[in-house]
Symmetry: C2
Amino acid sequence: MNTPHLELSFIAARLEGLEETIIFKLIDRAQFCTNLSGYERGKSGFSSDVSHSLFEIRMLHQERMDAQFGRFCVPEERPFTHDLPAPQRLVNLPDSKLHISNFDFISQAKDILTSYLELIPKICISGDDGQYGSSVEDDIYAIQSIARRIHYGALYVAESKYASDPGTYGRFIKTRDTDALMEKLTRKEVEDSIVERIRNKTISTQLFVNRVVRNAIDPDVVAEYYKEWIIPLTKKGEIAYLINRQNV
Amino acid sequence: MNTPHLELSFIAARLEGLEETIIFKLIDRAQFCTNLSGYERGKSGFSSDVSHSLFEIRMLHQERMDAQFGRFCVPEERPFTHDLPAPQRLVNLPDSKLHISNFDFISQAKDILTSYLELIPKICISGDDGQYGSSVEDDIYAIQSIARRIHYGALYVAESKYASDPGTYGRFIKTRDTDALMEKLTRKEVEDSIVERIRNKTISTQLFVNRVVRNAIDPDVVAEYYKEWIIPLTKKGEIAYLINRQNV
């Protein structure tokens, strides 16, 4: 395998580098209360739109803007909404070396959204501080950083692993044997070490935080979120990539 | 003074709480190279706009979106661009207890922008990684968090100090004696302790970072930026507030 960015060590380093960004964005969100009104339909304050929550409207506006800047031309940037405008910007991307006709085949956006909304009450102080706009703004940045990690892993880890043993993967793909694929993809000791690293990073990032002025998040909650959602959804995305891989 | 949010200890705690957010966003930006093309006019890739840089176009789109969500109804959220759309959202804000007819009187946006653009090469690795979109996206989040800190301090620290000694402040304001106001506002030992705290927070946030996969920023650079820009611009904003204060 001569393509450096398909080497597993390169991909693992990229994934590791995204961890702090996710932790930072969750900590920033946790400086506001749960602010449940931000997630209730009809309570957005937008008189022109009573059928969506403020969170949903913010997501839509953000993705419409991002689409114009070409975000979704990038394989690992999969949107949460539909019917987005075409890019207005010419984006020059290197060949991804991925073999899939539509990057959205690997999207885990629905489950990422569900899992993220369940995470909010576990990291934020319960209650209402009136800062709905700031809360949903931070939500979007956090969920985008989580989705980037999952979709990047789904695409590039899967392609890298396939390339390391096309014979075995090809056989499982042809027989649609997702159990065998899952078993072959899984490296329990690597997953455990990632979860442990996340716990340690969340601890060290907040080691000297002044808890009188900042809300600290529970390192176990972030570790658990990685274990129960980020890693499994990445693997689900990997399976989706393999099953849809071209030229097997 | 019976208004809790005008008590200096409350305001100082809020300002301290914003520090990590600024540090996090600078660290996130520093994961990309300087990417100077993102700041050069005509290189945005937008065929519809050849007279602005990608950074400028992103700022404009972000602020147009933010304006619709009501961001600039908040006193400390001062925009970097002009001719923004009206809010589409009903924003319920508590009385700010500020005494100024136009919050933009205290805006330091121009100097914040200049100082931030000078900061980029001091925190990012020199070069071009092609990630222009991500770079300017992180720029906007970083510069917004810096501006929030400066403008919040400018408005509320100034009002709080005025309220603690309206006689003396009123005299200096009436004679437009900005030197005397600056002297009365300045508490060197507090400023020094903030700068030192920033240095320590930047160190502790990155204490266990894996420098093989993440670029770490220099704690002295962030401390220096606070000392040379954030604190002085906050005080410039405080003077602007006092000079424009109503009912002196």
